[in-house]
Symmetry: C2
Subunit: 339 residues, 2 copies
């Protein structure tokens, strides 16, 4: 593969002149410029960005470290990140941690070696260690979707507490009192906050919280299915169920159907996170919808600002609101649908 010296030799100029033709063409006379361009074409020369990066300390590459691209919420975030980044000349490296700290730490280590210009990061744990390990190398980070108590870092996330509160309140208004909460992992801040919102709505309505109805699991279809199955084997069943995210609710819905119960006639189901309506013919789930495209875009913009304007920034927290969308998965306790 031809390098800058090959081009220089063919065009009978010095390498730096070739470099100038590429990066600052006005600084070169039209004649030499044309000669250099001809040589570039003839050799099919493609500048080596690695060598350039070694000098400039810039890779024009961002790391996107999330839990699972397969979840439509993260898919949309990823699309938004990539759109925003590529519009400004940055590429995006995609990493799925599956919420596993070992995978996450391995990715961070590899990506720091690769000298990515910044991280869009969904931490698997609430502890600030991972974020700090990035910041210690003076590499910009923006945390998405979750809080990291103790870390001084930009965060873009949705108001999970309010989302879960609104959903729970909606169920209470429909007459439900035995509402199960299928939570995500308690060590994830967004899971905690969704439980908090659930508790607040119950407390406000004077309904005592029965800890048996709060069940911890993972943010996956499989886990939602397993936890719901376990719950449905109990003597007393809930009349409504709040999934901490879309996948938990989808898993739970499958479990519910398998036991022969009907939604919403026998049990109402709601969750945080929408499923894009164009993905499902007729949207069914009542949800507290987040705005994943916004989330990804805002986070990327914050990150690019940090990269472009190095120096100390006061950490920002951007809190996006959720929207309650009532559909056909919820019904009043007497059995009538809500619509």
């Amino acid at each position: 593969m031809a390098n800058i010296r090959d081009v220089a030799a063919l065009a009978q100029v010095s390498p730096i002149t070739v470099s100038r033709v590429l990066n600052n063409p006005e600084a070169v006379s039209p004649e030499t410029r044309a000669r250099v361009r001809a040589a570039i074409d003839e050799l099919g020369y493609i500048p080596n960005q690695i060598a350039r990066s070694l000098r400039s300390n810039r890779t024009n590459t961002l790391a996107l470290v999330l839990t699972d691209i397969t979840n439509p919420f993260w898919t949309t975030v990823a699309r938004s990140v990539e759109d925003t980044a590529s519009a400004q000349g940055f590429n995006v490296i995609l990493c799925n941690t599956d919420e596993r700290e070992d995978k996450q730490d391995e990715y961070l280590s590899v990506l720091l070696r690769k000298r990515v210009d910044g991280f869009l990061f969904v931490p698997a744990r609430s502890e600030p260690d991972a974020v700090e390990s990035i910041q210690r190398q003076k590499v910009p980070v923006v945390v998405m979707d979750r809080r990291v108590p103790g870390a001084e870092v930009d965060v873009v996330r949705s108001n999970s507490e309010a989302g879960a509160y609104g959903l729970t309140r909606h169920l209470i208004e429909l007459g439900h009192r035995r509402i199960a909460m299928l939570s995500g992992p308690f060590y994830v801040s967004s899971a905690q906050e969704r439980v908090d919102g659930y508790r607040r709505a119950l407390a406000e309505a004077g309904i005592p919280v029965d800890e048996h109805w709060i069940l911890e699991g993972e943010f996956t279809v499989k886990s939602g299915y397993a936890v719901a199955t376990r719950m449905l084997a109990r003597a007393e069943l809930p009349t409504a169920l709040l999934g901490a995210n879309n996948f938990i609710a989808l898993g739970a819905m499958r479990a519910i159907r398998e036991t022969g119960l009907r939604i919403p006639d026998d049990i109402s189901v709601v969750c945080v996170d929408d499923i894009p309506d164009w993905l499902v013919g007729e949207p069914f789930l009542t949800v507290a919808a987040q705005s994943p495209y916004d989330l990804g875009g805002r986070a990327t913009e914050l990150l690019l600002r940090q990269i472009r304007e190095p120096g100390v920034h006061a950490p920002q927290e951007i809190l996006l609101s959720t929207e309650l969308i009532v559909r056909r998965s919820t019904a009043a306790l007497n059995g009538n649908h809500t619509e």
Copy 2:
């Protein structure tokens, strides 16, 4: 940020010894090794992969150039690619072309400069130009999902023709004769093949093909909606509709519902590409399902083999089969459901 010389100075050895501790620890005596390791920890030294890449001509990075990560088919492919790549020490750069040749070419150019080790590529056009521009630089490529007539390149794709044939035949067996085909762009090989399969099934059944029922559009929900809306405004309506992919079918379904028609009572709908069943509570669409996880994994393995074993390989074509899954979006022409 500390470099190898800082570490060497602190450990009172030469830089090359530090390098050996990192890459070939056995070649260094335990005492020096320990001293070097201590220095590495003290300085928080992280090896610079850029410098290493400049020497080794390896970035351990693959490019994944697809149309739209937002389509669950591609989401699954991307997940599979990332799983397979990261298990073997490679990262993945994600690029969405939206089938636009200008975006695609810009990505290819940037990625060639970045010296990615290989491309997993979904070409926006059937012409071999783009593939050849990669191969000219001696960079390994594997094409996914589409044929590129004229290019000598590894391809992993599904049997689109057979998939569309099976779907059309299923509709014919249900008594349908006026079957609309909502195609993707004719310049994409998979779109062509799906039309071919549709034609073959009709021909086999002795049903003349009415070209008015073959409509070209894009592989998006929006386009499917637009094309279907136009079609539904005609005097004569089809009794069944074959979407060239899932998104076209989803858009068409929305258009159908908006006109007050019911699926499958008034019109049956089928498509190539499944929508993962865990995404939708109750799967509805009758489809010819592809295996996107397989597709991504096989393609990545072919690519990694090219990278590990440079030299000339005879181009391979891996053809994955599709599976007809009959669900509730199709009914016999008399109006009875199929189940």
